[in-house]
Symmetry: C2
Subunit: 365 residues, 2 copies
């Protein structure tokens, strides 16, 4: 059975046709002998070509083009970040900032669309448990109105995002980015040290990226998050918790619930670091045997998926809370938005649980 | 560290001073030789005495007295139900119906108080994650108003319940119940078969009670409920689910969320059967070695606790939904009630999870 995305949305751009960086340790040449510059240039060059192809495709299929542009921009920017000592620092920083600007504009439209789909699906699910009696009719009436309200608000936000994107594509700022990427496709401005073999330069830099991720994860409350329903019936579920985690959970649980909204930021930061680790691994895709302390690429992708869902659910719950502040809404609408908000916070908690279990299980094993 | 009750409420009456049924296989007499009648009469007689003592205590400590009355009434009624063939059928049925009436009246007051405490604690927790910005202030304002509204409604319900209880204690119907219990304390109207030794009569009847429970649990969607966040990010968390449960979860998950409100009833019925099994075991407390297929008493008590929390959370979510139907409430109040409703439904899901894990683990092992 094919694994579906949890909410049926294309959360992150589809992988598309599988591309491979050019220089690979062919017969007779081992990875250990390849210059670092060649490995990095091949990866960056491949995604720069993708980026340029997507630009030419924009007239035919705008959505697909935007997807590929986001995907390539993210990977180029990540590679330049992780392997920064190999490239001219000022130039790389400037390009990364411009790619970030473009990415942000392109992502806004997609995030609004995904959020609307997620919220409407959740409202439909929540209204479907309506048992038809009077107690629940508040939810049924409210869900329809809340759905209409969210659709109005998010469609407006989407329209604004699209016109901002259109404006961006016509700007000289954008043309400067496209020019830089064109340069990347053929030639990467490298530093002197970039000529050293991959194991001496690229491997330690990738290791540093993985370490930054491991440190960020270390700071997360994983023992608590790996414990289901930690924000709910906390002691109820302590039945099969090992005694140490038990004590920690008790100690931490204190005032607020499991997926505390004021605690979203470190999880969002971890999401970015997971992506950086993933792309750092992609650059070294040709390596025969990665070091033992590196994370597993497939599990890292799953971890990224969990943290994507975490961010989507957090965003969706905020959207529900914002919509509840609209003047002159009916109590039934507000009620449905409250249910929706709490439901999405529960999904935040579920995503933290999934990530924690994954991480404690096999990512770093 | 002492285990606290999950919501700090005295959900079920405290065990009080540990009492033991009178006839015990003393030195030189084995359980197998005791007549069934003696074992049952000792258990019922002990709780009848407790009941009568509590009645005398009512002037001093009404709450404590009500707790003991509920506790004794439940146990007498359960023992008469499980071991019905040992007692005069018509008489037992009549007494059980009257004890049920009294229990219902006494429980209403306590349930309103527990519900209010649970809802206010949840509101305080939900408002505490308020990060102070405008997005969340809806919740902070709404939580205070929703708390006041719930307090008004549940205090009114409690006042009604108390006056109903007062009226009941003065009624001739109540005096008839008290007379019947007085009879029980000294003499149980037994059938002829009750003289047979305990292993021949009591053990098969207790086994039948455990079987009824096992059948009810069999009909619950345990594989799904034992899977955390089954109503949320369902596929997200399928990471470590064994493949069969995986397929089942997918098949069942269909339209509605994990702790579907239309599906509460079978869990509530199971709660009653768990209590019957518990009290059936209590009657046979003196038995040296229970049959292997009987549930473990300590685990059964934990299972009862999980299902108590299940019912409390389901009741609380219904109270939140009902309060949201109050005319002329503000949108902020309705929003907070919606959050509260969904939060309590999440606790329902957590309680089902706790019960399922417990049951699949060791209850029947």
């Amino acid at each position: 059975v094919a694994r579906q995305h949890p909410d049926g949305l294309p959360a992150s751009p589809k992988p598309g046709p599988k591309l491979r960086p050019g220089p690979k340790p062919g017969p007779g040449i081992s990875f250990a002998e390849l210059p670092s510059s060649e490995v990095l240039a091949a990866y960056v060059g491949m995604h720069a070509s993708e980026f340029l192809r997507a630009l030419r495709l924009r007239d035919e299929d705008e959505a697909a083009a935007a997807r590929v542009l986001r995907r390539s921009a993210r990977r180029i920017s990540a590679a330049l970040h992780t392997y920064e000592p190999l490239v001219e620092a000022a130039w790389a920083e400037q390009l990364r900032s411009e790619l970030g600007w473009l990415y942000g504009i392109l992502a806004r439209d997609q995030r609004c669309a995904a959020q609307l789909a997620r919220l409407c699906a959740a409202l439909a699910r929540l209204a479907s448990v309506d048992s038809g009696d009077q107690v629940h009719s508040t939810m049924a009436i409210g869900a329809a109105r809340a759905g209409a309200l969210l659709e109005r608000q998010l469609t407006l936000a989407r329209t604004r995002a699209r016109s901002a994107a259109l404006q961006a594509f016509g700007s000289s700022r954008f043309h400067a980015v496209a020019d830089s990427v064109t340069l990347l496709a053929s030639e990467l401005p490298l530093t002197v040290g970039a000529a050293a073999p991959a194991p001496q330069v690229l491997v330690p830099l990738a290791t540093a990226a993985h370490r930054r991720l491991a440190e960020a994860v270390q700071a997360l409350p994983l023992p608590k998050a790996a414990y289901p329903y930690n924000g709910h019936a906390r002691r109820a579920a302590l039945v099969d918790l090992p005694s140490q985690a038990h004590a920690e959970t008790h100690a931490e649980a204190g005032a607020a619930g499991g997926a505390d909204e004021t605690q979203d930021a470190p999880w969002h930061r971890t999401r970015v670091l997971v992506q950086l680790s993933r792309y750092a691994l992609e650059v070294l895709d040709g390596m025969a045997r990665p070091p033992d302390d590196w994370p597993n690429a497939a599990r890292l992708r799953e971890a990224a998926g969990a943290l994507d869902r975490h961010r989507q659910a957090a965003d969706a719950s905020t959207a529900a809370a914002c919509a509840a502040r609209t003047p002159r809404i009916t109590p039934a609408t507000a009620y449905a938005l409250g249910v929706l908000h709490a439901d999405q916070r529960c999904e935040v908690e579920a995503a933290r649980y999934a990530f924690s279990r994954l991480w404690q299980g096999t990512v770093s094993g």
